[in-house]
Structures are given as structure tokens and as C-alpha cells.
């Protein structure tokens, strides 16, 4: 069962901002419990061009060069159905989607 709707802030890496034609931070409406999976579902519904860019179309696995950070924690290896920190749920802190620093 889905609970109350929450407004969650998400910070995208530069190349996904240009792809989606948005600023650094976007807000999405997510039903509780707020999890990485639900945030990404909402994000992809609002911005369909992001499908396949953060997680695989089929397996839904996070792409290997991306990480999920929030509240100074690396959440990348947590279960995608685990509840996000309260600060993210209440909109005080964003969920950060980070691209690995690599390449030339």
C-alpha cells in the first residue's frame, strides 16, 4: 500500500540535466514509503528520456558508473526498496545522483 505523497528533491549529474532540459535539482512526488526505487520511478515518469540512463531498462540495476548519495551517506549498495533518510523524505535534503569521476 502506498502512503502519503511526499515531495522529494533529486540532484542530477550535469549530462542528465542537459538531456532532460532541467536545472540541477528537480522535485518529484513520491508516495511513502519513499525509496530509491520509487524516486526513480517518479523521476522516469516525469522525464521519460531518463529511462535507461540511471538504471538498466530490463534489470533495473543501477548503471555501474553512478552512485546514490544522501545525508553524507553512500546509499548505492542499499536495497532499492529500503526507506530513504527522513531528511530526504521531508525534502530537507536531496537525493544526489552522482556520476563517477573518470575519463578524459
Amino acid at each position: 500500500m502506498s502512503g502519503a505523497m511526499r515531495t522529494v528533491k533529486v540532484v542530477l549529474p550535469y549530462h542528465l540535466r542537459t538531456l532532460a532540459k532541467v536545472g540541477a535539482e528537480v522535485e518529484v512526488e513520491v508516495a511513502e514509503p519513499v525509496t530509491v526505487r520509487r524516486v526513480l520511478d517518479a523521476l522516469e515518469n516525469s522525464y521519460p528520456m531518463l529511462r535507461g540512463t540511471i538504471r538498466d531498462h530490463e534489470t533495473q540495476k543501477r548503471r555501474p558508473f553512478l552512485r546514490f548519495f544522501a545525508c553524507e551517506q553512500d546509499l548505492s549498495h542499499d536495497a532499492t526498496d529500503a526507506p530513504l533518510p527522513d531528511e530526504v523524505v521531508t525534502g530537507k535534503e536531496p537525493l544526489l545522483i552522482i556520476g563517477a569521476i573518470a575519463g578524459g
Partner: protein, 371 residues
């Protein structure tokens, strides 16, 4: 007055170069899709203002972008490339079985007649088709399902389907090429495929004349003679006069017959262009001299074209999809280099000038001749 639009894909974005029919003064667009690898852009022959671009990134995967106004505005369309059924395996570099995995789109080939129809050649090698302007994609699985599929192996650049040629005289016929499987032809719109590699000799594979396993780098065709094909193989320049049923070597007097790019003059079906590269170990021109070679005899007899091209200290490469011709009365020839130059000749190769010198490494060049 005609307009020429040169579509350039690079390691770090795309650029559109525009000139009038004189091809002397060029406007260079602002970079498009900055920071992304643009393997290929191509316009629809049926609607020249409809352009498709393959945009990809090691971080964020594949996008297909489409413009309906000649490249001013772009919108991402469908990026879901799912192999038909259970993907199965092909051979890995070490000969072990390796699952088919989608990596990127190397080449987009819009239909000659239908602006909503476009084909995509992908890595790991497969052919996809979109009938809705790129919004959704389905695999033409008969190719990968060929009996030889499990034996295909990647070349050094990956197992990519990099060449798609549509036969203007026969809507059911198309040719594709895969590194390092070889060339294939369908006569029924992509349901069934036939390897067309008879006559190719590749000394780097166990059986040099095997049915598949050849590292074909690129194939070109003149639209008025769709049964005649020209191929730049890993080594050797080849031609076929029977729709790929058999091939003959036409390297002739080339100083080296290794290379990637090959194309045909717009109005002279026996005039070919290649850019010889020193070897498979040293991907740059011989002696540091950038030379396009032209044959006016369908191969075998080649002349070096050097006017306006650097003749010392040049160590760039010209990749397989980085040469194209326009269709103006005096045929223009264009190519891009891994050093970021795009060279143009408005007189069929006799004289060359750089349109731009300092782009990111050029992956592809296509040309549109607009009325």
C-alpha cells in the same frame, strides 16, 4: 542555390557545418550534445530536415535524438534496444561463449522513402528497426539468429554492426557489415540473411577464407548500381559486381591497403576514395602524410590526392564512417579525422581545405545536399 549540410559526430558532441553550393565559406554550429559521444548522425532522404543522432555515454548509456527542423531543435526519442528472445551467446576474444549485451548504436540508416522508418546497427552486433521515427525499436532477429551467430567474434573496437546499405532498386534488399563477422545480405527485408564473404582472405583467422570471421571495416555502394559493392576490409580493398556473391581484391597500387573509410563518387560509379592507413598496429597515415587515394577505374589503379592535406607530421586516423560525398554537379568529398579536422574538397578530391581543424576526435561524417 543549393546548400550543403555536413553532419559531424565526435567523441564529445556533434557539429553541423553548413555552406552554399560553392562550398568555400562554412558556418560551424555550436556543439550539440556536449560531452556525449556521438557515433553517428544521418538525415532522412525522404525528409531532409529529419535528422537522427546516436548519443551515448559510458555513464548514462544510449540515447537516440531526433530533429525535425534540420538540427536546430532536438528531442530524445526511444533508447530501449532489447534483443529478441533469449539473447544467447557469441564468441568472446578468448573463444569462450559470451552473452550478447547491448552497448551502443554505431550507425543509423534512415529509409530512402519513409521518414518514420530508420535502422540502427548496434554493438553487440544486431540490427534494429524503428517504424515510428525512433520512438520504439525492434530487432530484426533473423540476422543474429543466423547459424553462424554463435561463432561471431568482436574486433578490437567491439562487435559492432557498423554499416547498413539500403538498395534503392529493391526495398527488400539490404547489406550490413559486422566487425569481425563480415558482410551479410537480406533479400526479404531482414527476415533471412546470407553471409556474403566469398573471396575475402583474412590471414588473421584460422581459416583465412571462412564463411564468417572477416573484419570488414566499411562497405560503399553507388545508388545507381546497387549490385556493385566496394569494401575496405581490415586489410585489402575489395569489390563485388554481383551483390556480394563474390569479391575480388582491387587494392592494386595502394601503398598500404589497410584502412577504414571508403566511398564512391556521387556521379561516377567507378570512382572510389579510400584513406590508406599504415597498418593494424599503427593507425595513422604512412610517412606522416595524409593522402586520400582515388581510383577512377573501380579499383586497382589509384592516385594520391594531397593538395591541401598535411604532407608531414600527420598521425591522425580516419574512421570507417567518417567519409561522405555530396551530390552537387562537381562532387564534393568530405572526411573527418581523429585529430578533429574535417576536410572538404569541392572538386572531387583534387584540392582539399579544412572546414574546421580543432573539433574533438571525429567519429562520423555525413553530408546532405539540399535544394
Amino acid at each position: 542555390m543549393s546548400t550543403v549540410r555536413v553532419l559531424v559526430g565526435t567523441r564529445k558532441g556533434a557539429f553541423i557545418l553548413t555552406s552554399d553550393g560553392k562550398r568555400k565559406d562554412w558556418q560551424v554550429s555550436e556543439p550539440l550534445f556536449t560531452g556525449w559521444e556521438i557515433y553517428h548522425l544521418k538525415g532522412s532522404p525522404a525528409d531532409p530536415n529529419r535528422l537522427f543522432a546516436s548519443q551515448c555515454s559510458g555513464w548514462f548509456g544510449q540515447q537516440i535524438q531526433r530533429s525535425d527542423d534540420g538540427g536546430v531543435n532536438w528531442e530524445p526519442v526511444g533508447n530501449k534496444f532489447t534483443y529478441d528472445g533469449v539473447p544467447g551467446t557469441h564468441q568472446w576474444y578468448d573463444g569462450t561463449a559470451h552473452p550478447w549485451e547491448f552497448k551502443r548504436v554505431w550507425h543509423l540508416e534512415p529509409s530512402l522513402a519513409d521518414p518514420d522508418l530508420v535502422y540502427a546497427g548496434v554493438e553487440d552486433a544486431a540490427l534494429f528497426k524503428s517504424s515510428d521515427g525512433g520512438a520504439t525499436w525492434e530487432e530484426l532477429a533473423g540476422l543474429r539468429g543466423h547459424d553462424t551467430g554463435p561463432h561471431w567474434q568482436p574486433g578490437a573496437g567491439g562487435m559492432c554492426l557498423h554499416t547498413i546499405i539500403l538498395d534503392p532498386a529493391d526495398a527488400g534488399r539490404m547489406y550490413i557489415a559486422i566487425s569481425a563477422a563480415g558482410a551479410f545480405r537480406t533479400d526479404d527485408g531482414g527476415k533471412n540473411w546470407k553471409p556474403i564473404n566469398k573471396g575475402l582472405v583474412s590471414n588473421f583467422i584460422p581459416n583465412p577464407t571462412a564463411e564468417v570471421g572477416h573484419c570488414v571495416h566499411h562497405v560503399a555502394m553507388h545508388r545507381e548500381r546497387p549490385g556493385v559493392l566496394f569494401m575496405q576490409k581490415h586489410w585489402d580493398v575489395m569489390r563485388s559486381d554481383n551483390a556480394g556473391e563474390s569479391w575480388q581484391e582491387v587494392s592494386g597500387n595502394l601503398p598500404t591497403d589497410f584502412g577504414f573509410a571508403i566511398d564512391v563518387h556521387a556521379h561516377e560509379p567507378e570512382t572510389l576514395y579510400v584513406v590508406p592507413i599504415k597498418s593494424d598496429s599503427e593507425h595513422f597515415p604512412l610517412e606522416g602524410k595524409l593522402r586520400v587515394y582515388r581510383s577512377r577505374t573501380g579499383g586497382n589503379e589509384w592516385e594520391a590526392l594531397t593538395k591541401g592535406l598535411p604532407q608531414k607530421d600527420c598521425y591522425v586516423n580516419v574512421l570507417r564512417d567518417a567519409m561522405a560525398v555530396d551530390s552537387l554537379d562537381e562532387c564534393g568529398v568530405y572526411f573527418g579525422t581523429t585529430g578533429g579536422q574535417v576536410y572538404a574538397s569541392a572538386d572531387a578530391g583534387d584540392n582539399w581545405t579544412p572546414i574546421v581543424r580543432d573539433l574533438p576526435a571525429v567519429l562520423s561524417v555525413e553530408v546532405q545536399t539540399l535544394a
